[in-house]
Each structure stands twice: as structure tokens, then as C-alpha cells.
Amino acid sequence: MRGLRVLTAGILFAALAAWGAKADDVPVAVAANFTAPVKEIAAAFEKKSGHHAVLSFGATGGLYTQITQDAPFEVFLAADEARPKKAVAEGLAVGDTLFVYSVGKLVLWSKSADAVKGESTLKTATFSKIAICNPTAAPYGAAAVATMRKLGLYDALKPKLVEGADISQAFQFVDSGNAEVGFVALSQLAGTSGGSRWMVPQDLYPAIKQDAVLLKKGANHEAAKAFLEFLKGPEAHAVIEKYGYGFDNPS
């Protein structure tokens, strides 16, 4: 009997601890390509402000679907402009907080040293599988498809495409060796030097402008606003730049 009581108390305590998120926790929905930089930015933000950003990652489309269904996010860092704008249009986000926090870059990447040489790699296509992320849910997937279309190679490469649910999974398919090459975000390759890569020229795909926006749930939360301000600041910019992103208005 006593064991049961201890167990009940334990479960109650755990439930309360999980429930009672601190008031200065900021739940942030982040597009998967921005995983590594946002972790650094959140750590710096916490050090500076004492607020804790709670990060959830996924494909932009999936996160957006969750937001429309009342997910408890206060800030949305997307991988495109379309979904944050749509969130504003549908009254889910605060319009005047919208801004481009980074401009993403697409890379064709392989773990083996000579696999990727440039456009020619896609033309000769000696690989058996090429990884991308879901082109309808993840903007980097759309950019990869746009690139292949522009080069007139999409139909030829289509049978070799394998899709990750988000860019992290596309990266993982290549990293685990299951796909020889893949379109990934430059930020995912930060700090790695092995393999071979081709920076896809900017004229082959529409610029990946990544918008941030304050969601309605965070409209009155100072910590959420502070996080967005911090994201615009020099400290965050240094991190974003380090991971190879560009900016819309170079500052």
C-alpha cells in the first residue's frame, strides 16, 4: 500500500513538473535546416536574458499544420516566406513582427570525396539514390526540385529520388550511406570538411528567404518578443553567418 502511495505521489509530481512550465519559457517552432544555429542562438539568448527557448523542429509545412491546430508555439522560424505570411493572413500571427531572419543555401553533398563535382554530377547521375526533403512540406525540397527542373534533369532523376520528411532526414539518408548524394542545407555541413559538395548557384532556384514571426500565442509574452529581437541582433547574426546563411538586407 505504501509503495502504491509513493508511486502515485511520484507520478503526480512528474506530471506537475511537466505541466508547470516556467513563465519565461518560450516555445519556438523551428524549420529543421536551422536546427544547429538556433540551438546556439537559444543558448546565448538564455545566458543574456535568462529566458529559456524551448525548441521544436520539423518540416515547415508540418509545423505550420500544427500551428493552425492550436499548437502551443509562440515563435515560428520557417524555411520560407509563404507559411509565416499565411499565418498572418489567417490571424495566427502578428503581422508587423514578420521579418527575414536568414537566406538559406542549397548544397549537393556526398560523403565520398569525388562523388560531387558540380552540375555534371547530376547530369551523369552515376549514383543510385539522391536524397531530398519533402518538396511540398519543406522549402529546401522545393528548391532542390526547382534546381533539377531548371537544369532539365528532373524527369531523368525522379526515379532516383528518395524523400526525407524534413531536411534533417535528407541529411541523415546521405550521412548513413543509404543515399550516395543529396540536397541539403549548407548549415548542416558546418564544421564538416569531408566528402564532396557543390554549392548550387543562386540562379538555379528561387532564394530561400526564411521568415520569422511572432505567433498569436506569444503576442503578449515579453520573452517571446525578446527572442525575436535577439534573433535580429549582432550576436545571433554572427551565428547565422557562421553557418553559411545570407541575409536579405545585409546589415
Binding site: A59, G61, G62, Y64, T65, T68, S128, K129, A131, N134, T136, A137, L161, V162, E163, G164, A165, F173, S176, G177, N178, A179, E180
Partner: protein
């Protein structure tokens, strides 16, 4: 989005194919396992049966992770794939069959094992005194007696494979016609806010699940009095 109707039917067809192939493979592999487990008296049988039952408890992500490594170029799956010039079994129909066989194994083995155990040693002893060889006794006595177990196992194995999601998401690569099964198609539609398509598939799945469970109950009711 044009071609979505085709997308829907392709994923339904693929799912049924995967479940059918998996069920056949499972009956072929699962029957000897169930037989061995049912006949064995030693403690090792319980160890083996615990291994078979693992997927009941493990999250699909654990299986998906191991499968991704095992099917890949550095794993046994990659070695197997190299026989026909491929590099990996991930992102392929055979890869999904392997994953589904592991994942649905307990749903097939356990009912068959229970059925083998239910009739005890007696019928087989009788068969032996009538000079039936063990093989003959197995096919003419054990299998017919265990028929409800086979039926239950086949239905559950099929249904559980239809309901598989996590493993396919991790090793499938979302390829229409090859690895994009219904559950993954639903996830895809929901990620892209295509509620209508998601509704069609999800509603179909719910109806299917209901039919399976009801069917199982009816099978059990029909066989229960005869089995006792």
C-alpha cells in the same frame, strides 16, 4: 494538385501488396518458429519467445534505426542488395517487407503458438501410434487443429502491417508506388494541409480496422466451442 487521385490509389495498392507479401512470408517463417516454441520445454523457449515479442514493446523508431543501419551499404542488407547491383535495401519494397516481417512477427507467431499448444501432446501421440511420421503428423494433425490460430495470425499480421508507420517513415524515403504506403501518405497530406485526401485515407483505415477487429471477434466465437 493534379494526380492526387492516382496518388491515393497507388498508396492503397502498395499498402495491400506490402501487407499481403509480408503475411505470406510471416506464415512461412512464423509457423516453424511457433511450432518450435510450442513444443519446446526448456527455459530457452521463453527467451526466444521474448525476442519474438520485442516489437510489441519497442518503439518503431528503435526498429527503424536498426533497420536503417542494417539495410544500408555497411550492413547485411547492403551486402544482399549488392547481389543485384544495388547499394542499399532502404527505400525499396524488399526493405519494407523485411521491416514489416520483424515488426509484425509477434502478431503471427503468438496466435499460432497458442493454437499449437491448445491441443496438447495427445493428438500427436495418437498419430505416432498410428505410425504417422512427425512431418505427416504435423501437416495432417497439427496444422488442421491449429487452423483458427493461423487465421487469427494471418489477419492480425496483415492488419498490423497495414497500420505500420514509423519504420516505413524512417527507411522508406517516401517514394510513390514503392515505399509510400497509406500511413505515410496520410502524414504527407496532413503536413501539407490536404485534409480532404487525408480524410479519405484515414476514414478508410478506420473502417478497415473496425472490420478487422469485428471479424476477429466473429472468428473466435465461431471456433471457440469447437476448439474446446
Amino acid at each position: 494538385m493534379l494526380g492526387d487521385a492516382a496518388d491515393l490509389t497507388t498508396s492503397v495498392k502498395l499498402t495491400l501488396e506490402l501487407a499481403a507479401v509480408t503475411t505470406v512470408v510471416l506464415l512461412a517463417i512464423g509457423t516453424p518458429i511457433a511450432w518450435a516454441l510450442a513444443r519446446a520445454k526448456g527455459w530457452w523457449a521463453e527467451v526466444a519467445s521474448a525476442v519474438v515479442a520485442l516489437p510489441l514493446v519497442l518503439p518503431p523508431t528503435v526498429l527503424g534505426f536498426y533497420l536503417l543501419v542494417a539495410l544500408g551499404p555497411q550492413g547485411p542488407g547492403g551486402a544482399l542488395a549488392s547481389l543485384w547491383g544495388a547499394r542499399t535495401l532502404a527505400f525499396s519494397f524488399p526493405g519494407l517487407v523485411i521491416g514489416s516481417v520483424v515488426y509484425s512477427m509477434p502478431f503471427v507467431v503468438q496466435p499460432i503458438r497458442n493454437a499449437f499448444q491448445a491441443f496438447g501432446d495427445r493428438p500427436l501421440e495418437v498419430a505416432a501410434t498410428l505410425r504417422a511420421s512427425p512431418t505427416r503428423a504435423f501437416w495432417t494433425v497439427a496444422v488442421p487443429l491449429a487452423r483458427p490460430g493461423f487465421l487469427t495470425g494471418a489477419v492480425l499480421g496483415f492488419a498490423h502491417t497495414v497500420g505500420e508507420f514509423g519504420i516505413v517513415l524512417m527507411v522508406g524515403g517516401n517514394i510513390p508506388g514503392r515505399t509510400k504506403v497509406m500511413s505515410v501518405a496520410i502524414w504527407d497530406y496532413v503536413e501539407n494541409m490536404q485534409w480532404r485526401e487525408a480524410n479519405i485515407l484515414a476514414g478508410g483505415m478506420a473502417a478497415f480496422a473496425f472490420a478487422v477487429i469485428l471479424g476477429m471477434t466473429l472468428i473466435e466465437r465461431r471456433f471457440a466451442p469447437a476448439g474446446r
